[in-house]
Amino acid sequence: MTAAHYMIKFLRSRHGSKYYVIAARDVNMLQVGRLEELPPPPKCFVKSLDYFLDPLCVTFRLEQYMNRLLSEREFVSAMRKYIRKCFVDKELVARRLDRLKDFVSMAKSGKIKYPYVTRPYDPDIKRILAEGGIIYRLDYEDNSWIDVYMLRDSFIVIIVPRDVAILLPYDVRLVDPKAVAELSSNIVRALRKIVEYAEGSSILERALDVLRYIMFVREVVR
């Protein structure tokens, strides 16, 4: 198995420029200068640096790790050191370390861990949306909606205005039951609502198997 390479890099994007963390198996992918030019996951995973670290605590010392290829060991050790330096609160440290673990685990395996829960403005989600597809707006609770983006190999559920995005595959075999067990009850409630709408909908039909499987797993682990 080819190992993943990591880089902390200043990238231009349509929203401005900032530091990102990139992980890819193909080193050539790390040479681009614009965020939008990077391929979507699972070929390349991207997070903004502040997803892991507090930008206020990043000092020039981190510069030694920037704009150069890092092995998994180098990358993880640098990020761990900075996460512990940036946050005092143990819970915050644990949460950021979990993010790091998930990021590295996906980059290492070259596979997305579904359900992939993130924010709609996550750089990975933005690049997946570039595939194009059908947007379907559904009614949810008071003053909130669910948008489902039916793409080629996966679908994205966005809960509006809560700003949660859930990336899911159409293939049930790709869903990780452990990740399903970790979903918050709010997310499960929203997905259950989509099941209700999906029955009899020609657009959402493709998502139904995976959504039903998630509901089944949640019933079992309860």
């Binding site: 570039a130 194009g132 948008d147 966005i158």
Partner: protein, 104 residues
């Protein structure tokens, strides 16, 4: 003892009272959000999605925006997707231009 500047304090008193704005707060309709698909190349609105509506967007030309409307017009907008090679400022200009046409 605290001192007050007469002109400023009067203006502040007006702002602090919700009834001064005309309609009581409770009866004002909360803003609604809609998904708007804008063709940035043709500078036209392709779809304003109500609930249970769908649209196939073209990733090469279409911007997908979450737009907040109230009775008067566009309150705010959030980009869900922008085609590659488009800057936010450029897209914002086109979207506001075409949306004011739709709302007005």
């Amino acid at each position: 003892m605290a001192t007050r500047t007469p002109g400023w304090s009067q203006a502040r008193e007006g702002v602090d009272d919700p009834e001064v704005w005309g309609e009581p707060r409770a009866t004002r309709k909360p803003p609604t959000r809609k998904v708007v698909v804008v063709d940035l190349l043709a500078k036209s609105v392709k779809a304003v999605l109500e609930t249970f509506e769908s649209y196939t967007y073209n990733p090469q030309t279409d911007a997908v925006v979450e737009v907040e409307f109230d009775d008067v017009g566009v309150v705010d907008g959030l980009f869900r997707y922008l085609p590659h090679g488009t800057s936010v400022g450029e897209a914002e200009r086109v979207i506001l231009e075409v949306l004011w046409g739709v709302v007005g």
